[in-house]
Amino acid sequence: MTYAIDGWFAIEEDGVRLLGTRCADCSTVCFPPRPDSCPNPRCSGSMGAFRLPRRGRVWSYTNACYPPPAPFVAAEPYEPVTLAAVELDEVGIVVLGQVKGLTVEQLAVGMELELTSGPLADGPLVWMWGRVA
């Protein structure tokens, strides 16, 4: 099971989780993980690992009707990749990801989605948004 990027998400028995960081001092949560410094300019706290909530609501969505350029590896034959920016419950972060199993015709702003995973066209896995199980 090759991950397309290490340390940003984990595929576990009970589901897929995004791996972020949280500041010990001001509780700010980050994704992608920022291990070195708190992004809050008024805080110099240290960041610890934090697992983000798995569900959220669609902030917006779109698709790529033409194959995106390298370094994206497009499937052949190409099917439009669908993207959604999802606002995660509780942590107030909007996270962008590919969408699995839904096209733009089936998506709506405000719709609830859940984190899953899927392969890039050349095999390695990335986090993806999908229907709530």
Partner: protein
């Protein structure tokens, strides 16, 4: 003490297949001629860099100086993505305001690749700009489309509203000899053009172009020796967002969190414009015309609200009422916008200033905004380089 735009010059936008330096030098020579200043009188030359044209583009100030002929002038090169031109103007303006320079030349030029902008070459798995392509296939138009879809959900904008922006801008572009696209279009044509990133069609999204723009900036005292009627560069804001930045921005994977620290009073794009208004001592009600960075048609509507021309959600209404069209109350993108030019990254903000200057000097011919007194231009470079500038018309007593 203030800074004056003494001369402007542009090379027409298009796809000419020439080296970027050639366009930049042409624009520079035109600006010098317009200003009545010799290259050897320029004390400070600033180049806005291009990152897709090899090493000379990374040191563009020196490259232009070499092309014009080494004169020993002070020199700077800078890059700030789509805000590079504004950054270059800011460098020159600041030096003049500091009293260290009387005459400066600012140049930006690009020779753009075909199609989508791709990451700077090589495998760069630590570069978020590389990763958003590798992991998501998230092109620039994908981000524009996210904003467009959100606008539809929040404000009821429709693809027909977006198409109306292109129709307006294409009409203005058809009257602009510097524009690349000079044919009026209909809403039907826009909506029939291929879908690129739902809901944006091909004609909703700006192209990438070759182009160049240059300006001669001067101190007030130097300018008064040359002319009694001029345009003041009253403000330039180049600012970062304030934490937390809660709007998903190009080319990020995620926003800051809004939970621990409350979001700032103004979102980033609005703050960019506000910083310029504040420096100039003006407000949106004073603006005669605005050039805003219409990377997509839908984004022009967002910008109108962000720069304060109308409350959030009302830009479509203003557009439909003809208020932002040439001849309307507050023309937006009277140049024809990116819709008619395409984007030549380092040249674009300088081109915006060229447009404001022509308008404020009454030199815009068929595109003239009657009685133009104050112009605003806004751009946004990715990774946090926002910029806006304000120019005002003056007649010395």
């Amino acid at each position: 003490m203030s800074v004056v735009v003494l001369g402007t010059g542009m090379h027409p936008w298009g796809k000419w297949g020439r080296p970027f330096l050639e366009y930049g030098v042409a624009a520079a020579r035109e600006a010098l001629r317009d200003a009545g200043v010799a290259w050897t009188d320029v004390q400070y030359v600033v180049g806005a860099d291009t990152i897709r044209n090899g090493y000379p583009g990374f040191v563009s100030g020196a490259s232009y100086a070499r092309a014009l002929g080494w004169s020993g002038a002070r020199v700077a090169s800078c890059y700030a993505a789509c805000a590079s031109g504004a950054q270059a103007l800011d460098l020159a303006r600041t030096r003049i305001l500091a009293g260290l320079c009387d005459v400066a030349l600012v140049i930006g030029a690009d020779a753009a690749p075909k199609g989508f902008f791709t990451p700077v070459g090589g495998d760069r798995p630590d570069d978020p700009d590389w990763l958003r392509f590798r992991l998501l296939g998230a092109t620039n138009p994908a981000y524009f489309a996210l904003y467009a879809r959100r606008r539809m959900a929040l404000h009821g904008s429709t693809p027909a509203d977006f198409a109306a922006v292109k129709v307006k801008n294409a009409l203005a572009g058809s009257l602009n000899p510097m524009a690349r696209y000079r044919k009026p279009v209909t809403a039907e044509e826009v909506l029939a053009s291929p879908m690129v990133a739902d809901p944006l069609h091909l004609m909703d999204i700006c192209a990438t172009s070759d182009g160049a723009a240059a300006v001669v900036l001067a101190s007030d005292s130097y300018a008064r020796r040359h002319t009694t009627r001029f345009v003041r560069l009253a403000a330039i804001s180049t600012i970062t967002p304030v934490f937390p930045h809660t709007v998903l921005d190009l080319p990020d994977f995620a926003t800051d969190s809004s939970v621990a620290v409350p979001a700032p009073e103004r979102p980033f794009r609005a703050a960019i414009a506000h910083a310029a208004y504040e420096e100039a001592g003006l407000g949106p009600q004073d603006v005669s015309l605005a050039e805003v960075y219409d990377l997509s048609t839908a984004l022009e509507l967002d910008w109108m609200e962000d720069v304060g021309l109308c409350p959030p959600g009302e830009a479509d209404k203003l557009l439909r009422a003809g208020e932002t069209t040439l001849g309307g109350r507050i023309p937006v993108n009277p140049s024809g916008g990116l819709a008619s030019f395409g984007e030549a990254v380092p040249a674009q903000a300088i081109a915006q200033l060229c447009e404001l200057t022509a308008q404020l000097m009454g030199r815009s011919g068929a595109r003239q905004v009657a009685g133009a007194q104050v112009g605003l231009a806004a751009t946004q470079g990715l990774f946090g380089h926002g910029s806006a500038l304000i120019a005002t018309a003056h007649r010395a007593s």
